[in-house]
Amino acid sequence: MVDRLLNIDRRIVFLFVFIGVTVATLWPILLPIRPTENVRKIYDTIEGLKGQDDAVVLVSFDYDPGSAPELQSGAINILRQCMRNDIKVVGMALWPDAVGLAEAAFDSAARACNKVYGKDWTFLGYKPGEASVIINMGQSFRSAFAQDIRGTSTAAMEVTRSIRTLSDFDYVISFAAGNTIDRTVWIPYAVDRYKVKLGGAVTAVSSPDMFPYLQSGQLNGLLSGLAGSAEYETLVNAPGAAMRGLVPQSAVHVIIILFIVLGNAMYFVQRRRDRTARPWV
């Protein structure tokens, strides 16, 4: 029995996880969600820009559809919050796979808030080069993005008319599935060189890497994965996919904790059996 429990077929664990996700998705028990300080900082920063006529926020979409369950909800809610507060939004993408997701997010938010393309928001599209793009934007925004994804000149659009360099943006938020925030792009170049205020939204797997930057102040706030997006939905009072997704998330966490406890318990039982069988060891 102990041997079988110590060597559980991993497919049994998969089955339990599948059952946990399915049951919790079909019959959810909504649990309270308390926004954490790191999420609240992003919300408060955007709220602080309310009332400023020339406030412009840059939102960078640096993720792919594989990370959409964790980040897309947060992106839509942040766009809606900006647009609801009459803050202009400029979008860009450093990952090619993010273009479709960014366009979907802007379409959803702009329709919900009745915002006009070119006047209240625009999407610049994808540019390869990552750090090169940021350095280019830091020196001259127009030379990096002469036109947006629809071919409209950035010099002609009201939303980007006042932007000369990257530093002219009041706030930059990067939704990142990789290393664009901490290693390759935003913190080393945008924050360190051009002193932009940066907020981050990352997948949960990257979250531990971001905490040193929160402590040092290089990162203004952080949304961590699905939980961060759910907390943001709570702040903007817009229950959505992220809050609904936290229910199965919690259920699976409980299942995994139980398996870990079981595995450790069996380990100690096995160790005691070994000591009893071979007391000279």
């Binding site: 497919r11 998969f14 996880v17 996700v21 399915t22 998705t25 079909l26 594989g66 990370s67 959409a68 369950p69 964790e70 090619p96 796979d97 273009v99 599209g125 994808y126 540019k127 390869p128 750090a131 350095i135 036109q147 994804i149 290693r183 913190i187 080393p188 170049y189 924050v191 360190d192 060189r193 997948t203 949960a204 797997v205 979250s207 531990p208 040193p212 402590q215 040092s216 102040g217 290089q218 961590s224 994965g225 699905l226 939980a227 996919a241 609904r244 997704g245 199965p248 998330q249 699976v252 966490h253 995994i256």
Partner: protein, 287 residues
Amino acid sequence: MTTSSRTATILFASVFFVLSIWQLVAGKLAFDGPGLGTLTAAGITLALFSFLYEDNPLFKIAEHLYVGVALGYVFTLVWYTTLLADLVQPLFMNARTERALLLVVPSILGIMMVVRIVPKVSWLSRISFAWVVGFGAGISVTANVSAQLLEQIYPTLAPGAGWEPLDVVFLVTGAVLILLGFFLLHGDGEPTVMHSWVGPALLTLIFAFSFFYDSGMAALILMGVCAVLVYFFFSVEHSGVVGAVARVGIWFLMVAFGASFGFTIMARISLLIGRMRFLLGDWLHLL
């Protein structure tokens, strides 16, 4: 094909076909563009999930399909948004400007990089790679030294950057405890308490206290940074006081690995939840 592989193929294919036919017959999915799209996505999702049971041909088909489609999508996007808009049009289609001529040299370097696949002229790619590596190293060294190193050192050490009186108390207490642990020997010279559960339990208590009291974190971080750095310093034998401090570093590393593991699980489960919501909602209309 092994028996398990055949089982996985038959099982997942059967589930897909039975449930899809049910949805089509019940009228919840139509045989039009969006409906076929949903069915295709559901089928490929299940094919990929079939790997959890056993590697099988269904999974291999889906895997290769994913790589091909992703590559095709990215190539198309890069062509229209970058190569055509920023290279071909300025050089060959629009009125040529001096600025456009600046694109010639980088274009040649880019082509030289691609000719690596031709053995006779593959040496040309070394010039392009040298340029890329040199530029990358030059541009990133200063940026990363500043952002990753110097900007991190200051808040860790400087009392003015968020240190509180309780941080000093924790630091002194931690130093005293490490020395105590060193002096409680086991006879063979090794500090036995550092290898028991006492240290991690004490660390947990200190962390819990500072977490709920909302103070003292800066000292914990400094202790952790120094202890982990000592652990990774292998030029000195890890015995005595150095060994005790290195042991503390191991505890911090274990906590960090545990946190990283937990966050990774959370991320992967989030992706599963996204797919399950699609299968249960968009495909089976159960939500």
